[in-house]
């Protein structure tokens, strides 16, 4: 490395020249692009958010909106498994507890993985190695970061399994993943991710592959553990019910960008983006009349190679013609503050959106 490089983006120094953030986790203008034969897939295209310890951020969006890629980018796993493919391009800044991850040494980031930041995946059956016992896998996670013998690590594994509510943990520690039920597997997965007391926990669709009755248990467990360990949690989901349970803040993603962000109660009760309205409208509720149909968001998610010009949501937005001069199809809307800590990216005026929400949308929900 030359001196020129050293004076550039060193660890702990922001690329943008802005000072290091005070928030525990701060993501600034994150972009993750995948070059493919068909073109550049802009999975995440300029995403920013902050998260404090002890708080939960819910990232919501359809399949392909960039939720999972965001989490993999934070973990430094966006290029993992890309053998021989064109490498993913990532830019922006990810600050975790004062360390900028994108410019840090990859091996240093690897050492943070599993210890400072851990992840729970969607399908615990395919995410656990079929040939190793639950115990072996938890022991491995612990010993990667702690210089202890296998016995000590196994005691720790049993302790963690007990903590996440697996009965007879001293026996079950020797079971293989296929010998567990779906809910138990996800508990084991959670035990494995928490074995090193990570300060940041990313749960990528933690309940999607589970039975509805088990979903609530797993969500309760995540909430309890968060209180106990005081970690920051990111929950990624397409299920608004999940974020309603867990999240302090909600970030709605569409086409690789944030379209609305704010405190959970604001986003749920005063949403200021037509896409969020659509998500809320397509959520089934028990207190709604049965003959009322769900209101789907028409159309399909945008291509991430040719993202629509202007507002990415404009082809599906029923209100796209309200703003003047065809601006929704030419100019990309920026996030603007619509209330305390509440941002949305829409060309309609605040008053227009407030009126549509209170008069047209809210009564139907």
């Amino acid at each position: 490395m030359t001196d020129l490089h050293k004076t550039g983006a060193a660890v702990g120094e922001p690329v943008s020249g802005r000072p290091a953030p005070t928030a525990f986790l701060e993501v600034r203008d994150l972009k993750v692009h995948f070059p493919t034969d068909d073109g550049l897939v802009k999975s995440v295209d300029g995403l920013s958010f902050q998260l404090e310890k002890g708080k939960t951020l819910g990232i919501v969006g359809e399949s392909g909106s960039g939720k999972s890629v965001t989490s993999l980018g934070i973990m430094g796993l966006h290029t993992a498994g890309q053998y021989g493919k064109k490498k993913a391009q990532i830019s922006g800044e990810i600050w975790l507890d004062g360390t900028e991850l994108l410019t840090a040494d990859p091996d240093a980031v690897r050492k943070l993985r599993g210890r400072e930041m851990a992840m729970i995946f969607q399908d615990p059956l395919s995410s656990l190695h079929p040939y190793y016992t639950i115990g072996q896998q938890i022991v491995e996670a612990y010993r990667v970061h702690h210089d202890v013998d296998k016995k000590t690590a196994k005691r720790r594994a049993v302790e963690m399994l007990d903590r996440v509510g697996i009965p007879q943990p001293d026996k079950r520690v020797n079971s293989y993943p296929h010998e567990f039920s779906g809910g138990m597997r996800q508990r084991a997965m959670i035990a494995m991710s928490l074995v090193n007391n990570p300060e940041l926990l990313i749960a990528d669709e933690p309940t999607t592959a589970l039975d509805v009755t088990v979903q609530a248990q797993i969500l309760d467990l995540i909430r309890d553990l968060q209180k106990e360990f005081g970690s920051a949690v990111i929950v990624i989901t397409h299920d608004l019910g999940v974020v309603a349970e867990l999240a302090d803040d909600i970030l709605v993603m569409y086409g690789g960008r944030c379209v609305e962000r704010g405190p959970a109660e604001k986003v749920f009760y005063e949403p200021r983006h037509p896409y969020t309205w659509g998500l809320l409208g397509s959520m089934p509720r028990l207190d709604r009349e049965q003959q009322d149909r769900l209101i789907p968001v028409k159309g399909s998610p945008p291509s991430l190679i040719n993202v629509p010009a202007g507002c990415a949501f404009n082809p599906r937005c029923p209100y796209a013609d309200i703003p003047k001069d065809n601006v929704t199809r030419t100019v990309r809307p920026e996030l603007t503050e619509v209330g305390g800590r509440h941002w949305a990216a829409c060309h309609m005026t605040q008053e227009q959106r407030e009126r549509i929400w209170t008069e047209e949308i809210a009564p139907k929900l």
Partner: protein
């Protein structure tokens, strides 16, 4: 299963000549013999007994030995009795006994070579997919799969034995020869045979590894902070071993039944060469013996692979 194999082999190799109109007694007696002698042989070999008795006598002979008798002319065939060669009049077992070490040594050396070379090439190719190394290795593997042994073997012999004189090969390998002679004689056959199989294993390993590396649990291992090297060996290669082991078991079984081409090319007195010689001289008992042994080797190899599955993959275990 072994019984089924026995029955099938016996049927095919004992009955077919009969149905085809060949008289085994005449085969045994050879040309220019009187009808009387042929009748004597027929009685002695029990060829006038009903078929199932012939089969039973044959099977019984393997563990217990067998006595051929025609009046005063009595021949005792000791315990693993597979009958006598029509040509050399030696017990078939002797032929098998002498040929087996050669074939086993050939198989053992070659399989270690090809497993190490093939799997490591495949792993590196998978990790560097699309690179120059990957392309060269895969073209090499295609060549290795396509080139027949009698070609590569001849070329290797021509260069290393006859032109350069680096390797001296023994024409008639036997158990009396020293380890050094065995090693030197088998070196080229090992390499040639390993080349063919290594090529196949490299392709198989590459494909399997690429599959496994895309699995969710590999991502989990990385998310735990496991170093990349351990991710590949402990997590990915472990899973990729299952299909490799399956093919490996079968290959070993087939090879133990005689590597016909390799042994013929290098003139190694193994089971394969014995079979070829027996076929060209219509020596039915030897053909039967070798085939039986080959079938047994494959059956046993299959069984071992099935048992090993349970060791490798806990999902296969009972309970």
């Amino acid at each position: 299963m072994v019984l089924v194999v026995l029955l099938a082999t016996f049927t095919v190799f004992y009955m077919l000549p009969k149905w085809a109109g060949q008289d085994i007694a005449v085969l045994f007696a050879g040309k220019a013999t009187g009808a009387e002698q042929v009748e004597g042989i027929r009685t002695k070999l029990g060829l006038d007994d009903p078929l199932f008795i012939q089969f039973w006598d044959f099977v019984k002979g393997i563990p217990l030995g067998r006595t051929y008798a025609n009046g005063s002319d009595v021949t005792r065939c000791p315990a693993p009795c597979f009958g006598y060669s029509f040509v050399t009049e030696e017990p078939v077992w002797n032929t098998l006994k002498e040929a087996l070490p050669v074939t086993a040594a050939l198989a053992a050396g070659a399989c270690v070579l090809w497993l190490v070379a093939g799997v490591s090439t495949g792993v590196v190719s998978a990790l560097k997919r699309g690179s120059v190394w990957d392309r060269v290795a895969m073209i090499g593997a295609l060549g290795g799969v396509s080139l027949p042994i009698f070609f590569t073997g001849m070329v290797a012999m021509g260069i290393f034995v006859h032109s350069l004189g680096w390797v001296h090969i023994s024409d008639n390998l036997s158990t009396d020869d020293s380890v050094g002679v065995w090693f030197e004689t088998l070196l080229l056959p090992w390499i040639v045979l390993a080349l063919l199989n290594a090529a196949m294993y490299a392709r198989l390993t590459r494909a399997t590894m690429l599959d496994v590396l895309g699995e969710d649990y590999i991502r989990t291992a990385r998310a735990k902070g496991v170093a990349e090297r351990a991710v590949i060996t402990r997590h990915a290669l472990r899973s990729a071993m299952t299909p490799i082991l399956t093919v490996f078991g079968l290959d070993i079984g087939v090879l133990l039944g005689g590597a016909v081409l390799t042994e013929s090319t290098f003139n190694l007195p193994g089971l394969g060469l014995a079979a070829v010689q027996a076929i060209s001289s219509k020596d039915l008992p030897v053909i039967l013996g070798v085939t039986l042994f080959a079938a047994l080797a494959i059956a046993v190899a299959n069984l071992v692979v099935d048992l090993l599955y349970a060791v490798i993959d806990p999902r296969v275990r009972l309970g």
